[in-house]
């Protein structure tokens, strides 16, 4: 116990708040089809001519922000087998599916897109077969293909590049009633301005979607105000799904949906919300409490005037389903 207390003291580092975006970051990435099912006999060698026609094109897009400077960004999206470090560094097959330059993602209008489409072609087949080759389950658990995303300032030092990855899973249709995963969704974001306690809170208002640059009149709050933001989920946000088990049976599960909260300034009481129940059986609350900033980002200087703070919500299920939402809150001193 004594040692633990001391270690606790000794281990206090001071790092940037991971939920506050200060520089170039990949905020999220989503695939239009996060999971695809194919009818295949796992006891037989894979038949390319049978697999590829069952796969639909899936487009993977990345959301990027660079709040520090307005600049053009270059990007590159590479398809490869999944690896532990989620980079396409191995000797296994890989292919660049998209690359280019986009305008500043925070200020350019319309919002720039950074996407690549996985087509059911030889590139995908090569990646699938390479991964299947070392799979002891022969594809029973599905094959995860990885899209590596590399983003950096145009003409900048490659060391400044940031890396991300997004998975698309190709699974056998076992059992036969199994359906592919769809991305989750929410209907709206509710915001309680000036949250103090649940039983005394004012009624919520709806937080409009869209970047700050796209919103002429975002929600206004005073510095230091606590805003409780709650995602209101769509009726079909939690899919019921069936998976095979190792002993030859099946298991039916209901998706849990989690939320990651990011902002341009201020502080989130909980950087994530939702997800599965905790060990005590508490259903995880969906909301987070965001405290509006009183100072300029990453400094001690008070806000000079009305400041628009971007808010991002990344919604995820546990089956590679992802959807993001952008919003904005104006802090008025």
């Amino acid at each position: 116990m004594k040692a633990l207390l001391l270690i606790g003291l000794a281990a206090c580092g001071s790092f940037q708040d991971p939920n506050i975006v200060l520089d170039l970051r990949i905020i999220g990435a989503e695939a239009t089809l996060p999971e695809q099912l194919v009818d295949v006999d796992l006891t037989m060698p894979p038949d390319a001519t049978a697999i590829l026609p069952q796969i639909q094109p899936s487009t993977i897009c990345a959301l990027v922000s660079e709040p520090n400077v307005d600049e053009r960004l270059h990007y590159e999206m590479t398809l490869c087998p999944f690896s532990a470090d989620e980079r396409c560094n191995s000797d296994l097959p890989k292919v660049v599916l998209a690359s280019g330059v986009i305008e500043d993602p925070d200020t350019a209008t319309p919002e720039p897109q950074m996407c690549a489409t996985i087509e059911p072609d030889g590139n995908l087949l090569g990646v699938l077969l390479a991964e299947l080759d070392g799979d002891p389950l022969q594809g029973l658990a599905g094959i995860d293909v990885e899209m590596q995303i590399v983003v950096g300032p145009e003409g900048g030092d490659p060391a400044q590049n940031v890396y991300g990855s997004k998975i698309m899973r190709v699974s056998p249709r076992i059992p036969a009633t199994r359906t592919g995963n769809q991305n989750p969704s929410i209907d709206r974001l509710d915001a309680v301005v000036g949250h103090v306690a649940i039983d005394t809170d004012p009624p919520p208002v709806t937080l409009a979607f869209g970047r700050c640059v796209d919103q002429p009149a975002p929600l206004e709050v005073a510095p230091g105000t606590v805003v409780r933001i709650t995602p209101v989920e769509s009726a079909d946000a939690h899919e019921t799904y069936v998976v095979p088990t190792l002993d030859g049976h099946t298991q039916t599960l209901v998706e849990s949906v989690a939320y990651e909260w990011l902002g341009g300034n201020g502080h989130f009481a909980g950087g994530t919300s939702g997800g599965p129940r905790d060990f005590a059986g508490n259903p995880a609350p969906l909301f987070t409490d965001w405290r509006a900033p009183t100072t300029q980002v990453a400094s001690d200087h008070p806000l000079a005037g009305p400041t628009d703070v971007p808010i991002w919500v990344i919604q995820r299920d546990e089956r590679f389903g992802v959807h993001w939402y952008e919003s904005c809150i104006r802090v008025v001193p």
Binding site: Q138, G164, I198, V254, P276
Partner: protein, 873 residues
């Protein structure tokens, strides 16, 4: 002026394991002649001598330990050679014993400013014969009697010379510290008590007419708090490398919180454990590969939770032996090292005890005789972190409740019964409990948590030992234990747990051991070692048997019941053969049979030790042997383990020497190589069954560890004022978890480890101690960056070559200052233990920011002073 010669026993006995059941008792002493030239020159001296006393009580040889010259050495030897003792006994039998004593030659000026005492009548002249603790005319009644006792401990002191100066009468106290003067006439006298280890005591007494006076002479140890007498002696050596710390060394090593187990981490062969944790990292092995034995029975746990103190009260321990490799055949089922705790007998001359308080817990110990043959000791401790934790925890917030209650306690008790010619019997029980209760309610966050965890430990060990004549002893020892680990989590309002785990482990063991000298050339140590264990698991946890669901799935908890049974029967034998008077060979064999979850396993482990006495001071030694370790029965579970997992193996090789120029100093050094193979490692491998289903392999025997190195310890044993040791270990340990995988250093590999420990009692009741550690940094894997995982929202670390770099070297200086105050019947000690006195910022690991761009060192202890008070009576 007159020359005064005083002799007092410094130490006597043999090793802690060959118990001296009766010390030799001085029956007849011959006063040395003060060398005339030295007396004329007013020279004084103290001659330390070692007496070799045979089984008849006669002094067969006298060694001068430290020569002082000027004729003192010769005078001391001449006198000591004439001493006659009542023979000492080992295990109830008269035996040869080595005794050390010091003969002081001092000069006293005659002081004539006191009234002339009444002169004794001529008939009171001291008789020439009689017990040495009786003086005066033995034909007359006792008029003055008393007991010499140590201040602070009330320990009765044998061998103290008590004089009535005015009458020229001297006696020597017996083993109970008692002395008697017969026929001392009424009057005022000065009683003088002298002993080499104690301050000179002068006490005025007045004896009335027809009255008998009883006195207690409270002797103050020189310097106020001497270390207790070191017990050291000859012992049958069957092991090749054993490093021992005595009780006094276990509690006063700076930087260990007075913890006896942590003290052995300063010995060579043990790598430094990070964050001051009590891990025993012996010669590159995993902590689980080292067996912890209490009087031969294995115990699973040494420490209270979360790096807390040792469960064992140091007062209950006599010594701790560390066997870093090549250990005797009586130890098995482990291929790392062995730590053997020897319990302390409760035999006592009265009620003694101690109580200790520091800022985190308080405890006490009491030892007492119940009858002449029965004695007991009890000890206990409880933490009170729970009492003040609420003041330092962060506020739970408005309307929220947070209660955190961590409590640990331990208790132990032992009883010893002396059956005299039929041997000795004892029973020892020890238990501990660590519980943590957390109640957290936050209506605003709509969550509540009721968490309970408990770790409980209990052992009872019986022991019966009797002599079979000569030096042969039979020990029979059963033991029973029960260990529990439990956890439950629930919402505060719930009537039952949402998740829970309970692991209950019951063990029954029995050891029978026959050991001792068979004849002039043969020593044996043989016996059987039986261990039976039943473990049950009950859990309410989310269980998934599908390979698809990633983390984050909301699985409902389900009940799980599993059990594991193991039975191990070991036969062991070591035979020490004195091939010549210089060469001893010890071939050994251990045969183990196991039934693990209904599956049998076996191991045959031959071992060979050789010791060659090059000179009286130098001994060369070598060993080679095989060591086996069964997998945990859980690893053979058909669902969560692998029934085909086999026994782990290791071969130990060592070559070294020992140098013992005298009783106080020793140097022990050796090079070693340990090859461990067939190690059980976890695997995610899957195997496809004939029906097309799949099963996880879970475990396989593919791990390999190799370790080689050099160890040395220069040690000064406890003397009255000083002890310490300097150790150095060079080692290299690497591992390969399965064929084809890259070979990397083991997680705690440290090429260089140096420890220096010293404790000094300069006098005045002070004790000053220091401990310095210098160790290579642990292996680390470089972090090259991170990749944002869009499916989890976290960053995945991009790592460089595994364990290809090291954290910085570690250095730390700990200091301990203590002061003891002695009163007649008790003493009190206050101590300040300062860990990391120089505030060195030692890096134990690095933590990284969320995207692995920035890092911050996680450092070990900052400077940490600990204040405590210990009372002893």
């Amino acid at each position: 002026m007159r020359g005064l010669v005083v002799a007092a026993l410094l130490c006597l006995g043999t090793s802690a394991h060959a118990d001296v059941t009766k010390p030799p008792k001085l029956l007849q002493a011959q006063a040395p002649d003060y060398p005339p030239a030295a007396l004329a020159s007013k020279l004084t001296a103290k001659v330390k001598v070692r007496l070799h006393i045979d089984a008849n009580g006669l002094v067969t040889a006298v060694d001068v330990i430290e020569h002082v010259g000027n004729g003192f050495d010769e005078a001391a030897v001449a006198a000591a050679s004439q001493y006659v003792f009542e023979p000492g006994e080992i295990d109830g039998k008269p035996a040869a014993i080595v005794v050390e004593t010091a003969i002081n030659f001092t000069i006293e000026e005659q002081v004539d400013d006191t009234p002339e005492p009444p002169k004794p009548p001529p008939s009171n002249a001291q008789p020439k014969t009689g017990p040495p603790n009786h003086g005066g005319d033995l034909g007359r009644p006792i008029t003055l009697e008393g007991v010499a006792m140590e201040r602070g401990t009330r320990r009765r002191l044998a061998g103290v010379i008590v004089s009535i100066e005015e009458l020229g009468l001297d006696v020597v106290t017996d083993e109970d510290g008692a002395f008697f003067f017969h026929g001392v006439p009424a009057g005022k006298y000065k009683v003088l008590a002298l002993d080499d280890k104690f301050d000179r005591l002068e006490r005025p007494v007045e004896i009335g007419k027809r009255e008998k006076l009883e006195v207690r002479l409270w002797m103050r140890p020189k310097g106020g708090n001497l270390y207790e007498t070191v017990v050291e002696g000859e012992r049958e050596t069957l092991e090749v490398t054993k490093r021992t710390l005595q009780r006094q060394q276990l509690t006063s090593v700076p930087g260990t919180f007075g913890d006896p187990i942590r003290a052995i981490q300063t010995l060579p062969g043990i790598a430094r454990a990070p964050f001051g944790l009590g891990l025993l990292l012996i010669r590159g092995s995993n902590p689980d590969d080292t067996g912890i034995m209490v009087d031969g029975h294995e115990v699973p746990s040494l420490f209270h939770f979360l790096g807390g103190p040792s469960i064992f009260n140091a007062e209950m321990l006599e010594s701790i032996d560390l066997y870093p490799g090549g250990f005797p055949a009586r130890f098995g089922r482990h291929h790392g090292g062995i730590v053997s705790l020897e319990l302390r007998s409760t035999a006592s001359d009265g009620v003694h005890g101690s109580a200790k308080v520091d800022f985190i817990d308080a405890g006490g110990y009491v030892r007492a005789p119940i009858t002449k043959d029965l004695s007991i000791a009890v000890a206990g401790r409880r933490s009170y972190i729970d009492a003040f934790l609420g003041f330092v925890l962060p506020d739970a917030g408005k309307g929220a409740t947070r209660i955190v209650t961590p409590v640990y306690y331990d208790y132990s008790a032992r009883a010893d019964y002396n059956l005299h010619g039929d041997g000795r019997a004892s029973i020892f029980a020890i238990g501990s409990s660590d519980t943590l209760h957390v109640l957290d309610k936050d209506p605003d966050q709509m969550v509540s948590t009721n968490l309970n965890s408990a770790i409980k430990f209990f052992r009872v060990i019986g022991d019966y030992t009797r002599s079979f004549g000569g030096d042969l002893k039979l020990t029979m020892s059963p033991a029973w234990g029960r260990d529990t680990i439990a956890f439950s989590g629930a919402q505060a309002e719930a009537t039952g747990p949402f998740t829970s785990i309970a692991v209950v482990n019951s063990s029954l063991s029995y050891r029978m051991r026959l050991h001792g000298r068979l004849d002039e050339h043969l020593v044996i140590d043989t016996g059987i070692d039986v261990l039976s264990r039943i473990t049950t698991y009950q859990a309410l946890i989310p269980l998934g048997d599908n390979p698809i669901v990633p983390s984050g799935a909301d699985l409902s908890p389900s009940q799980l019941f599993r059990g594991a049974q193991s039975l191990g029967v070991g036969l062991h034998g070591d035979i020490g053969i004195d091939v010549t008077d210089k060469l001893r060979l010890v071939p050994g064999l251990r045969v183990d049979g196991y039934i693990l979850n209904g599956i049998d396993r076996s191991a045959i482990d031959p071992r060979l030790v050789a010791r060659y006495k090059l000179t009286p001071e130098w001994t060369a030694k070598a060993y080679v042997g095989r060591f086996s370790q069964p997998p945990q029965p859980e690893a053979l579970d058909r669902r969560f383990g692998n029934p085909k997992v086999g026994i782990e193996k290791a071969e130990h090789y060592g070559l070294g020497y020992e140098w013992r120029p005298d009783r106080l100093w020793s140097l022990d050094s050796e090079i070693y190589y340990v090859h461990r193979h067939n190690l059980v490692v976890f695997t995610n491998d899957l195997i496809q069954n004939g029906d097309g289903t799949y099963t996880y392999l879970n475990f396989k025997n593919t791990g390999i560890h190799d370790s080689y190195g050099f160890e040395a310890i220069l040690k000064r044993e406890i003397s009255a004022h000083l002890y310490g040791w300097l150790t150095y270990t060079y080692s290299h340990s690497d591992q390969q978890m399965e064929p084809g995988e890259v070979i990397v250093p083991t997680a705690f590999d440290q090429p260089h480890v140096l420890n220096a420990v010293a404790s000094w009692k300069p006098g005045g009741g002070w004790e000053l101690g220091g401990r310095f550690q210098l160790a290579s940094g642990r292996p680390d894997t470089p972090t090259l960056g991170g990749t944002y995982d869009a499916d989890t929202g976290t960053y995945v670390k991009l790592a460089g070559d595994k364990r290809s770099i090291r954290v910085p070297d570690f250095e730390q200086l700990d200091v301990r200052v203590a002061h003891a105050w002695l009163f007649d019947t008790w003493s009190i000690e206050a101590y300040l233990d300062v860990i990391n006195t120089t505030y060195a910022k030692n890096v134990e690991a690095y933590q990284y920011d969320y995207r692995f761009r920035q890092r911050s060192p996680v450092t070990s202890f900052p400077i940490l002073p600990t204040l405590g008070v210990k009372g002893t009576w």
